[in-house]
């Protein structure tokens, strides 16, 4: 079909412009292993300590290249998040320089961040990011944990409905962080690419971001790549879905209400229909009334 061919051509053209080109020819990426997450399931909540560790990784490592444009410093102190106090969130904000203005002279200027500010991006614009990073644009991380995933396909999507599996995104992020290995012998790595067994097409532009011991933890949590991946993925899940705790809490209340209400409706229905179905005498009265 012409039209699908043209779409396909577009897709190929678009991917040729980046590293995605290898995704069309290379073998399928491995399925990201499913991890255990504190926010999984009907009573799942974020672990504030884990989110704080994940935030530390974002701040010290990811934020060098990745923006987090939709998040504000105030979010760090909001309920259901990393659990910083407002003073702490303000102090974190003050360590960032944000562009403000224009001032009375019409000039933009730099000032320390305030709690109401949004996380300043590492580059002034997408072009600046591309220019600095060999032509590749690191994706914004605000919705990344919901914008990535892995399709398990039939019949797994049926099981996932009942097990409430919604963590394909964080699983994928953890897998990418831990998925840097030596390429197989016959794999031709494109220039500027790194081999990652979980990345579609296996050639990822991002160099291995985290190594054992790279980010210091003060709470005794092991400083391994595996743990870093878990923590930063949890943080990014929170960044993408900051209202998850509230959703799970309200969900339970709604389910209990609906269950009780539906049972009552069923009993009412049974009572109302009783004469029609089981009592011919009363039924006779009804129809001759």
């Amino acid at each position: 079909m012409n039209f699908h061919r043209s779409i396909l051509t577009l897709a190929v053209a678009a991917s040729l412009s980046g590293l995605g080109a290898w995704s069309a020819s290379a073998q399928e990426a491995d399925a990201p292993p499913r991890q255990t997450w504190s926010f999984h399931g009907p009573f799942g909540t974020y672990d504030p300590a884990q989110l704080q560790r994940g935030f530390k990784i974002y701040r010290e490592v990811c934020s060098t290249c990745h923006s987090l444009k939709l998040l504000s410093f105030r979010n760090l102190a909001e309920p259901g998040g990393p659990g910083f106090t407002e003073a702490q969130a303000g102090a974190i904000a003050a360590t960032f320089q944000v562009t403000a203005g224009p001032n009375d002279e019409g000039q933009m200027f730099q000032r320390p961040g305030q709690i109401a500010d949004y996380f300043p991006p590492p580059f002034a614009n997408d072009q600046a990011a591309r220019a600095a990073l060999g032509g590749k644009l690191p994706p914004d991380m605000s919705t990344l944990a919901k914008a990535r995933g892995f399709e398990a396909g039939f019949p797994y999507f049926i099981f996932d409905f009942f097990t409430m599996y919604q963590e394909a995104g964080p699983d994928y992020i953890h897998a990418i962080i831990t998925g840097y290995t030596d390429p197989p012998k016959d794999f031709v790595l494109p220039p500027g690419g790194q081999y990652n067994k979980y990345f579609p097409g296996n050639a990822i532009g991002m160099p291995k971001p985290l190594n054992d011991g790279q980010v210091e933890y003060t709470d005794g949590t092991p400083t391994t790549v595996d743990q870093y991946g878990r923590d930063v993925a949890a943080f990014l899940m929170w960044a993408a879905e900051p209202t998850l705790n509230a959703r799970h809490r309200l969900g339970f209340q709604v389910m209990i209400f609906l269950l009780a209400f539906t049972v009552l409706l069923y009993l009412t229905k049974k009572k109302v229909w009783h004469y029609v179905l089981h009592d011919p005498e009363l039924e006779k009265q009804r129809t001759s009334a």
């Binding site: 079909m1 012409n2 039209f3 699908h4 779409i7 577009l10 897709a11 678009a14 991917s15 995704s23 399931g41 009907p42 939709l70 979010n75 994706p139 605000s142 919705t143 919901k146 914008a147 990535r148 995933g149 039939f154 996932d160 409905f161 409430m164 919604q166 394909a168 995104g169 579609p200 993408a240 900051p242 209202t243 509230a246 959703r247 799970h248 309200l250 969900g251 339970f252 709604v254 389910m255 609906l258 269950l259 209400f261 539906t262 409706l265 069923y266 009412t268 229905k269 109302v272 229909w273 029609v276 179905l277 089981h278 009804r286 129809t287 001759s288 009334a289």
Partner: protein, 417 residues
């Protein structure tokens, strides 16, 4: 009709109103005294569920529209701001986005029930055609709503679907330009989609009014397909149908809430959390699940114009169902052969849905072609022929006779004990 008394205004005000606008007696005769067959099963509750879903979508949609910005540079972030900053915005959006899926789930069950029990047959042809119009309006509304968050899948779905019109010979390309309001999917496209997405639900509500009117003129069909003959065959709408409908709305809501609260992104494409980028095509452009069977039919045909025609025909053929089915027996319960072909048809639609979600290559294309052929053969060959050759089972004389026969079987062990 003594059992279904007409409305008698009691208070002075209601008597005064009744002489000027008999709205109370309209409500009374339509939703209280209205006789409904006593043997309706739970498949008949989906009309009520659909009305409920339309209400849910309109209420959440109107509030969402208060916070949404239909501009290509702002739309994605305004939806994210609803999710993050608006009080219970996440709840409204997840109810609305999952609501589309549940609306379609309900309409497919409603349509399947109509096909199984022959609810489209004389004298319910107009009722059925109004239903097909409602389905078309739902498809259009759902599609335009999906474009509004302006994620990658929104943008590319809009591009793919509007491009279908370019298949029309001669005027195809000008029509597509006219639909877009430009030379590509852009801000004018988003603006008009928002406008129409807000308008069409009210059109749907109007046609629902006609649909219910036609229903109340012809009366409801029932599992036997035998028209009610005496008062024994019917019960009053209230309380019998209302309480039954309400119960099943509750059951439906339990499943719906499961998705809204625990699996809100289960039915959403991950790509739609990436802001729209006209320069980058997603690797797989897949429509929402409820369009997949039709999408599979479109892709099964190796010619664009023919594919688009088949897509259109696959939906429009439903409107001709009352005349394609030549059998005078309504319910599939009494049509053993039709029943088997119909279940095969349902399986083919589900199979097409699965194939629509897969890459169109190799065996998948062949399978989609086979199923598409069956889809059309069912309407154009099987239905007309079957009605003429099928030996049907004997119909009960009346609804109450079939109910009594059923109850006897059910109550026999109880009386013996």
């Amino acid at each position: 009709m003594s059992g279904h008394a007409t409305y008698q205004p009691q208070s002075g005000f209601m008597k005064w109103l009744e002489r000027r606008l008999p709205i109370a007696s309209l409500v009374y005769s339509s939703f209280i005294a209205y006789p409904t067959p006593r043997n309706l099963n739970y498949w008949w509750t989906f009309g009520g569920i659909l009305t409920f879903m339309l209400g849910v979508q309109m209420i959440t949609g109107i509030v969402l529209a208060m916070h949404y910005t239909p501009n290509v540079d702002l739309a994605f972030n305004s939806v994210e701001s609803i999710m993050r900053d608006v009080n219970y915005g996440w709840l409204l959006r997840y109810i609305h986005a999952s609501g589309a899926s549940f609306f379609f789930l309900a309409v497919y069950i409603h349509m399947a029930r109509g096909m199984y029990y022959g609810s489209y047959k004389e004298p319910r042809e107009v009722l059925w055609i109004l239903g097909v119009i409602l389905f078309l309006l739902m498809i259009a509304t759902g599609f335009m709503g999906y474009v509004l968050p302006w994620g990658q899948m929104s943008f590319w779905a809009a591009t793919v679907i509007t491009n279908l019109f370019s298949a029309i010979p001669g005027v195809g390309d000008p029509i597509v330009t006219w639909l877009w309001g430009g030379f590509a999917v852009g801000n004018p496209t988003l603006n008009r989609f928002f406008s129409l997405h807000y308008l069409l639900p009210f059109v749907i509500a109007g046609v629902v009014g006609l649909h219910i009117w036609a229903l109340h003129v012809a009366g409801q069909n029932n599992p036997t397909g035998v028209e009610p003959k005496t008062e024994k065959d019917t019960v009053a709408f209230t309380p019998y149908a209302t309480v039954k409908d309400a119960f099943f709305v509750g059951v439906f809501c339990l499943v719906y809430a499961w998705v809204v609260f625990y699996l809100p992104n289960y039915l959403m494409a991950t790509d739609n959390y990436i802001p729209a980028n006209p320069g980058q095509t997603p690797t797989h452009i897949v429509p929402e699940w409820y369009y997949l069977p039709f999408y599979a039919i479109l892709r099964a045909i190796p010619n664009k114009l023919a594919g688009v025609c088949a897509l259109g025909l696959s939906i429009l053929v439903l409107a001709f169902l009352p005349w394609l089915d030549t059998s005078r027996v309504r319910s599939a319960n009494y049509r053993p052969l039709y029943r088997q072909f119909l279940f095969l048809f349902f399986a083919a639609v589900i199979g097409l849905g699965y194939l629509g979600s897969q890459e169109p290559s190799g065996g998948y294309v062949i399978a989609a072609r086979i199923l598409a052929v069956y889809y059309f053969a069912f309407f154009f060959i099987i239905l007309p022929v079957l009605g003429l050759v099928e030996t049907t089972k004997p119909l009960p004389n009346s609804i109450s006779e079939s109910v009594l026969a059923k109850n006897k079987g059910a109550t026999a062990p109880a009386s013996g004990a």
